[in-house]
């Protein structure tokens, strides 16, 4: 070996796992601006999720159903507890609440078209109901939010169901903000605000506090709508056992449970990533609350937050949900974050798949914007068709799995059909670690 006394062997540059590239960029950003980062979407960090669960297909001890011949039902009825007119959906994959304001009018129209084509529901958001979405949505759920922006009893009566929003997974305990650039003349008029100002959405309802008040509020909405419409209560996943129990006590027909992967139009990054729990951890306590009250399947449970494909649908339902809701996935299906727009995302300082500054209103896909020129890029008919295709695929995928497990309806899937790949997922979903009969913490639940 050559003698090289002047060259000391160097270790490879060691990046800190704690102070990684992303963290350091966040620190530099905060130092430069003096203000926290606001973005759209849900939690982006790696979380225990449905990917950590697997189905046990039928074999000798179980009897599968023939994939192309034997029926596997997918329909769901929501609001059977008190409503005179429950909602009948052909697929349990529903569209979550997203506002006109956060989304463009053509994007809202596309959601209605896509959902209507496959027989599922879509949902309004903060800011009220637009004629476009009512016109294009066969089944429309009207959100009743703390801000009451655009809240109108005529729209309440026009809705097929009403969702009292207590919270959402991306920001349980938080309100919202639409920055001025998205407060167009039309959005401002619907929300009764000056055009172009930053608009804050309240985090609490103005006229009720606590579960006893909520019971009276729900009764008021029932009285106004003559007890016809299902009333949902939407909660962000934090203390699902107690929150679901209280929603049931308050008279909900349906509980919507949104995990931290569920998207928002805009809130602080620190809120999105550090408040709330993953949907995987929330479903079993929620179902337990319903079972303890004798209300499982009587009060329906819709879960959301990171639902992406038919496997996620099937897993959520096997854990006890009656239906699921998608938001982010629907936007992607319609063209949000499409690599075809990479050059434009680069101009915004980001890349396809990572674009999340929805609140700035510069979405090159024309979906999360109120800019008239950008909106023109989005075709609501084509967008609606893409969404319908995607919803159809998700439903068929869930059927494939259900048949493999020998189930003639998605609702017949059960926890016994699942195992977990990780200790975390096993403990959260309360299904055994694969290859064992062990569920961590089960004896103490």
């Amino acid at each position: 070996m050559a003698d090289t006394p002047n060259k000391i062997p160097q270790t490879d540059p060691h990046q800190s796992a704690t102070f990684d590239k992303l963290t350091n960029s966040q620190i530099r950003r905060a130092a430069a601006t003096g203000i926290y980062d606001i973005r759209g979407g849900g939690a982006k960090r790696k979380l225990p999720h449905f990917d950590d669960l697997l189905f046990l297909g039928a074999s000798v001890s179980r009897y599968p159903l023939e994939g192309y011949r034997e029926k596997c039902g997918t329909d769901v009825v929501l609001g059977t507890r008190f409503a005179k007119k429950p909602i009948h959906l052909k697929t349990p994959v529903t569209i979550a609440g997203m506002s006109f304001g956060a989304l463009s009018a053509p994007a809202k129209e596309a959601l209605g078209r896509g959902a209507g084509a496959v027989g599922t529901s879509t949902t309004t958001g903060d800011g009220g109901m637009t004629p476009e979405e009512r016109g294009q949505s066969k089944t429309l759920v009207y959100q009743y939010l703390p801000s009451r922006y655009g809240m109108n009893p005529d729209d309440l009566r026009k809705a097929d169901a009403i969702e009292v929003v207590v919270g959402q997974g991306a920001k349980p305990g938080g309100g919202g903000m639409l920055l001025g650039q998205k407060i167009s003349a039309r959005v401002a008029k619907m929300r009764c605000l000056p055009e172009g100002i930053d608009q804050r959405s309240a985090c609490r309802h103005p006229d009720w506090t606590g579960p006893d008040d909520l019971e009276i509020k729900i009764a008021e909405i029932r009285e106004i709508t003559d007890w016809e419409k299902p009333i949902y209560v939407k909660i962000g996943a934090t203390r699902p056992y107690f929150d679901v129990a209280l929603a049931v006590k308050a008279g909900a027909d349906v509980v919507v449970l949104d995990g931290m992967q569920g998207g928002t139009a805009a809130t602080q990054e620190v809120f999105i990533e550090h408040v709330g729990i993953p949907i995987l951890a929330a479903i079993r306590p929620a179902v337990q609350a319903l079972q303890d009250l004798g209300m499982h399947r009587k009060v329906q449970l819709i879960v959301s937050g990171g639902i992406r494909n038919g496997a996620d649908v099937a897993k959520a339902m096997a854990l006890g949900a009656d239906a699921v809701a998608i938001g982010t996935a629907a936007l992607i299906a319609m063209g949000d974050n499409d690599p075809a727009l990479e050059a434009e995302y680069n101009k915004l300082g980001t890349t396809a798949g990572a674009y999340d500054d929805w609140h700035e209103g510069r979405d090159p896909a024309g979906i999360t914007t109120q800019d008239p020129e950008l909106m023109k890029r989005f075709d609501p008919v084509k967008g609606g068709q893409r969404l319908a295709n995607y919803l159809t695929v998700m439903t068929m995928e869930a059927q494939v799995i259900a048949r493999a497990c020998g189930k003639s309806h998605l609702h017949n899937l059960e926890p016994e059909d699942l195992v977990a790949l990780t200790l975390e997922a096993s403990a959260m979903a309360k299904v055994p670690l694969a290859g064992t009969n062990w569920i961590p913490g089960m004896d103490k639940f």
Partner: protein
């Protein structure tokens, strides 16, 4: 005119409200008297006709909630959220009102002869509210549009984070909330005040005895230098 009478001690509320939701052709111009309310919640909610409804006694939460067009009088006091999200019409409380009176109301006139509790006119979106007595703390929080007239005093944090609503207060204000300030009452505002005093049975009260409060508009765009105000 002969009135239609309902006795809540005998008829379920649901039945009464359902009748009150009948077609305008059935209800327009009709007088409906509701006896024995006994503090029941959600009386006369969701009305949408030119009916005149009188509630003979105290009502609970959300009396005349989401009212449209109708004229509802409560011959007593009311619980939280009277006339919440009212769109149009008139609601008159002869007694006192609890919290969140007229919350988010978008139109119409709410008259409260007595005092109103906390958060009166919270998130007001265009309606007019006249309170004969005083209002509690945090009234007109995030009030966006419309007018609140208070003949008595206001509690702490009046008009916190207010947008474009006008607040006319005759008595003392314990404290103003973030971004709420005293405004000069011009002829336009004076005219609004005179009209509201006349329509609420207070035409003998001098408009000059009121102070106008509104938004300083310093929080309309998020500004880190103002973070202490949040």
């Amino acid at each position: 005119m002969e009135s239609i009478k309902y006795d809540l001690a005998k008829t379920p509320l649901r039945e009464v409200n359902q009748f009150l939701h009948s077609d305008a052709s059935v209800l327009n111009g009709k007088h409906i008297d509701i006896q024995n309310p006994n503090g029941a919640h959600n009386i006369a909610v969701g009305l949408k006709s030119e009916a005149k409804v009188k509630i003979h006694g105290h009502a609970g939460y959300y009396a005349a909630g989401m009212n449209q067009i109708a004229d509802v009088t409560i011959e007593g006091s009311v619980g939280a959220g009277v006339a919440e999200n009212m769109m149009s019409g008139r609601v008159h409380v002869k007694g006192f009102a609890s919290n969140a009176a007229g919350a988010t109301a978008q139109g119409g006139l709410l008259v409260i002869d007595g005092d109103a509790g906390l958060r009166c006119a919270i998130s007001l979106k265009g309606a007019d509210i006249v309170v004969g007595g005083s209002v509690g703390s945090f009234s007109a929080f995030m009030a966006q549009a419309g007018n609140l007239v208070v003949l008595g005093d206001a509690g702490e944090g009046l008009g916190d984070s207010i947008y474009e609503a006008r607040l006319f207060v005759r008595g003392k204000v314990k404290s103003l909330g973030a971004d709420c300030e005293v405004k000069t009452m011009g002829p336009e505002e004076r005219k609004i005040l005179v009209d509201l005093l006349a329509r609420s049975g207070h035409s003998d009260v001098s408009p000059e005895s009121f102070t106008l409060y509104g938004s300083a508009r310093t929080l309309y765009h998020f500004n880190v230098a103002k973070s202490g105000a949040y």
